[in-house]
Assembly symmetry: C2
Homo-oligomer: 244 residues x 2
């Protein structure tokens, strides 16, 4: 038996997120179904980050065990022909039988994309947040820097979420303007439920001038979801890479 | 009664082209249905260019007659709320009752987009041709220049097409590399059936070295569809603008 590790891209538009669910179309179900059709085996896939409905990935990492004799570097070619056009394996290799894509990850990098003009916006309806508000980008960038570091991010976690600790280390939080796009790049040792989407919603409030960048410090200190901004929609969010 | 002119964007992925057809989802049917729901009127829409199944538009121009009292510049707001998310009116105005978007057009500009890397290609499956072949871009650009001017383009017209004349004037034919994209920009006084997609297929053959750029002259002179390259797929094609 061997454990195979793969990097996966998917367009999350048609799916109810990564994790398998009864009576819903999910990335995990498509992958396990593809493996079954390819090898006849019932694989159990572990992923690095369980993305939500509508969220995309360019660098999701998965692992599973197999008895198949398919060479480790041929797996992605073989499996791609059993997957729908909106899911694609981009690399495959054999890994340690102890490798766990989720717990072994040192950090993950997500991008959130905003499309800032009307022309062509229909083409991004599933791939970016469409927002044409006048925004103070510098204020948003100042706020990004205040999010970096180790903090209790409870204010940026969907309420009702049960985790052991709300402390996370944000290694990098940059907002980059490449007209007509605005891109948030965020790397952390872990993310709470809806954390990036709530950060994005809060940054947009700051960009519109609802409060000043320094308010981020108070929002963090409050440890209260109601102090942060609204949750930005899922379609702008991309899991870009997992660092090990 | 007034004639209203509109500029329309659409993502053609879900549609069987612009023109209304029995038992098929078309852009024209969605637009006429939207007008009916908005005004109660049965409008007959004329468009500048009848795009095929899967082809997109950022600057399609349409016109229709109405008895509605909706102000000319409010039409696009009003109608957008009765249209699906992948069709959007971007401007509207009253025009001459004699304006015909098709016959009054001096020229039309189309773009054809090629996506040239594997990473992220699933996101462009409906929006570009995915091609990672090694291509001689300079040879393709040389061929583009040989297509400019007034020529008989019968070799670049789908066979069986019945038109009065195969002569068209190509005002501009440029191939622009903006990695990871390659974009063909072509403006002409008119296009034959599948003309741009056959031009694109022929340019790709030249890029791969199947024949030299000067062969374009022989292909034009032959007036024979079988001499040109294959028809490139529809999803890379965009009607960008109509010039009046």
């Amino acid at each position: 038996m061997a454990r195979i590790r793969m990097t996966v891209e998917y367009d999350g538009s048609r799916y109810h997120g990564f994790q398998i669910q009864h009576n819903a179309n999910t990335i995990q179900a498509e992958l396990e179904n593809g493996i079954k059709r390819l090898t006849g085996e019932e694989a159990s896939i572990i992923c690095a980050g369980r993305t939500d409905s509508g969220v995309h990935a360019l660098g999701q990492v998965i692992a599973f065990d197999t008895h198949s004799s398919i060479p480790e570097d041929k797996w992605h070619f073989a499996l791609n022909s059993f997957l729908p056009a909106d899911i694609q394996i981009i690399e495959s290799s054999e890994c340690s039988p102890f490798f766990n894509p989720r717990y072994d990850a040192l950090s993950k990098t997500y991008h959130y994309i905003i499309y800032r003009q009307n022309k062509g916006s229909i083409f991004y309806r599933n791939y970016a947040l469409h927002n044409t508000d006048s925004l103070n980008i510098v204020a948003m960038q100042t706020a990004c820097k205040l999010l970096e570091g180790r903090h209790n991010f409870k204010s940026f976690c969907a309420s009702g979420s049960s985790v052991k600790t709300f402390e996370r280390s944000v290694f990098r939080c940059n907002l980059i303007e490449e007209k007509p796009f605005l891109r948030l790049e965020i790397q952390a040792d872990g993310f709470l439920y809806n954390m990036i989407r709530i950060i994005m919603g809060t940054l947009l409030e700051i960009g519109r001038g609802s409060y000043c960048p320094e308010t981020i410090k108070e929002i963090i200190a409050a440890q209260d979801r109601s102090r942060a901004g609204p949750t930005a929609p899922p379609q702008g969010l991309y899991l870009m890479a997992v660092e090990y």
